[in-house]
């Protein structure tokens, strides 16, 4: 008996294996040059780390992954050309990529045309799935609505009798979306709040002394900013030198990725967002074995802790792996076609290093949001987060088919009661 089952099992496995491709050719597109490489490099590091690990353990469902990395530089026009080259010349099976919203919006229709599953891992524009339906394009990270609504909820929890707010955001789409949504959320949750200043420095301006003088003079209760990378560090350091953080409470919706760069200089009391719940000392999952292993391995290889772009990339890869496994179950062991893989992505619920992510039927992922306030402690050479607040997905993300701004305007002060106190 045993032998018959044994032979049948071996046959079954060999048949299944026989249809397995030699490798999964995975295109990875992220910034390797220019100012945005401050996101791109940590993301690439996370990809290298996980792919090495998985390949050493036999790959995804037994098939090794062959990454083909492309620099996201050169603008939307160049990236569309590179996407076509990846698909038609490098014959990739799947693409994970795109930090810039312009690149996401440009590449998505091309992915549909060439029928290649594409996972957008970081770009924050809310519009992409609100204006159009895709079959091959997914996003495994939340978008600007999460960061702005969560920021508003956190700010009002910390400072219930908030009176005045101001915004300093880079004059480009991400900055505009972030501020528009934050302002709408605050006013929806507390209609009597006054906006004293909306400042729009040039992207990569790097020099904010005039804006800081204005903010110092106006003394708003809260200053909101979605600045990132070198601009964020410049703004913080120029503000620090003149006591901006003493006069107003500053909210940095994408602050998490620059905490290690700012080191000891960043004071306590600054509100930090992590574009999702990506924090290596996550209150619930910092001791989770898989998470701890990832953080340790990342720190060993790259000398720094992973930041939210690294987590966003890990989410995309974890989603890919689960989708392959789910698709294989659906096809009964036959390697899935691209369409089958795409169908397997919809409705996927995966466990990530810091929490869980669900991919809705509009292909947009929803995840919890984490906000906290900085604190300098002896254990770490940079500010870490305390008074953290974990906000559940459906409190911070618009439902399927509703435009972010319209949904944010429907928020009412009562929502605040559903929000736990930061601990």
């Amino acid at each position: 008996m045993r032998t018959i089952w044994g032979i049948a099992l071996v046959a079954l496995v060999s048949v299944a294996l026989a249809q397995r491709p030699a490798e999964i050719r995975l295109g990875i597109v992220t910034f390797l040059s220019g100012p945005a490489s401050v996101f791109g490099i940590p993301a690439k590091n996370a990809a290298d780390l996980l792919i090495d690990q998985w390949n050493r353990a036999g790959g995804v469902s037994g098939v090794r992954i062959r990454p083909i990395v492309v620099d996201e530089a050169g603008g939307a026009e160049r990236q569309v050309a590179e996407f076509r080259r990846l698909v038609l010349d490098e014959k990739v099976d799947l693409v994970i990529g795109y930090i810039s919203s312009a690149d996401c919006l440009a590449v998505a229709p091309v992915a549909e045309e060439l029928r290649v599953p594409t996972i957008l891992f970081d770009c924050g524009t809310p519009q992409i799935f609100e204006e159009r339906r895709y079959t091959y394009v997914f996003r495994t990270a939340a978008h600007a609505a999460l960061d702005s609504v969560a920021a508003a909820l956190y700010v009002l929890k910390i400072n219930p009798d908030l009176k005045t707010i101001a915004g300093i955001n880079q004059d480009y789409a991400w900055g505009r979306d972030s501020w528009e949504l934050f302002k709408a959320a605050i006013i929806a949750l507390k209609p009597d709040v006054r906006v004293v200043a909306e400042l729009w420095p040039r992207l990569y301006a790097g020099e904010y002394s005039t804006e800081i003088s204005r903010l110092l003079a106006l003394r708003p209760d809260v200053v909101h900013s979605s600045l990132w990378g070198g601009d964020l560090v410049s703004f913080v350091r120029q503000g620090l030198g003149r006591g901006l953080f003493g006069r107003s409470r500053v909210v940095l919706t994408a602050g998490e990725h620059m905490l290690q760069e700012l080191g000891r200089t960043l004071p306590s009391g600054v509100i930090i967002g992590a574009r999702g719940d990506h924090w290596f000392l996550h209150p619930r999952t910092k001791d989770d074995p898989a998470h701890k292993a990832f953080v340790e391995e990342y720190r060993r290889r790259f000398g720094r802790y992973p930041v939210y772009p690294s987590y966003h990339m890990s989410q995309a890869l974890l989603a890919m792996r689960s989708a392959y496994e789910r698709a294989l179950r659906d096809t009964g062991g036959r390697w899935p076609t691209r369409e089958e893989f795409a169908r397997a992505m919809v409705g996927l619920e995966i466990k990530t290093f810091t929490g869980t992510v669900r991919i809705r039927e509009d292909h947009q992922a929803v995840e919890d949001a984490l906000y906290g306030t900085t604190a300098q402690t002896p254990q770490y050479p940079f500010a870490i987060l305390e008074r953290m607040l974990l906000l559940p997905k459906d409190l911070v993300m618009p439902p399927v088919g509703v435009k972010s701004l319209d949904w944010v305007r429907t928020l009412r002060p009562e929502v605040l009661r559903q929000v736990p106190d930061p601990r």
Binding site: L32, V38, L199, R202, A205, G230
Partner: protein
Amino acid sequence: MNPLLALFDGLVYGSLLFLVAVGLTLVFGVLRILNVAHGSFYALGAYTAVILGLWAERALGSGWLSFPALLLAPVLVGGILGPLIERLVLRWAYVRPEVLQLLITFSLFLVLEDLQKLVFGVQPYFLDRPLQLLGAVEIGGVPYTRYQFLLVLVALLVLFGLRFLLRATPMGKILVAVVADREMAQALGVNVGRVYAVAFSLGVGLAALGGALASPTVTIAPGLGAEVIVLSFAVVAVGGLGQVEGAALGALLIGLGRSLAVYWLPELDVLVPYLVMVLVLLFRPVGLFGTVEVRRL
């Protein structure tokens, strides 16, 4: 909002713009070359200043040493890179038509951008020791860092220093002569080759000085150079190409324009440099101080 603050912020930003752009106008004045690679020397100045500052603090233990580092960086960058690039690349550019000169420096910019990335990597650097050591002071209820006053002071020093150099020292007079009439200066036995090398190195040094002085406030990361180029073009075009005083006025105009925008019309912030440039060029195409070259029949 008392307007005094807007004026002071405009002055500070203008000073920084002047320090960034004056090297560009000097190089054009003498060599008649618009150096698109000017932004790369700015970035190299910033990188060198930060590396020297960090090393000085670690090795010699005192933060105050970061100030001399700010001044040493431009000397190194200008002294080493200036003659090297002038000899290797620019020497061939002088005889070329104007359009090719522009493209030569544009290509030089592309090369330097990647070399900078290979040498300094992509992660951001910063050293704000000079900012912290000087502390802040309050004016009209708004704290300003003393470093900002230092910037204004240094800008004035560089402006009057250059004016003194160009007007009173023998080397300066030769530079002015070459600017006025290259052929005549050559006919009078001026070693124009050496003058070019000195002028270009001085231009590179000034660009690096701009970068070094800005380094305590901004973050040094890839792409720093590209942003500065168009901004310094605007300053130099408004002031009049080749005119040091022109660059000072151009920088002040754009600086004040921007601070007025931030205080009253924030939406215009990103447009100010180019609007000022277009407006001035439309009414005085040679810039406020520029001179028209009349073709001799």
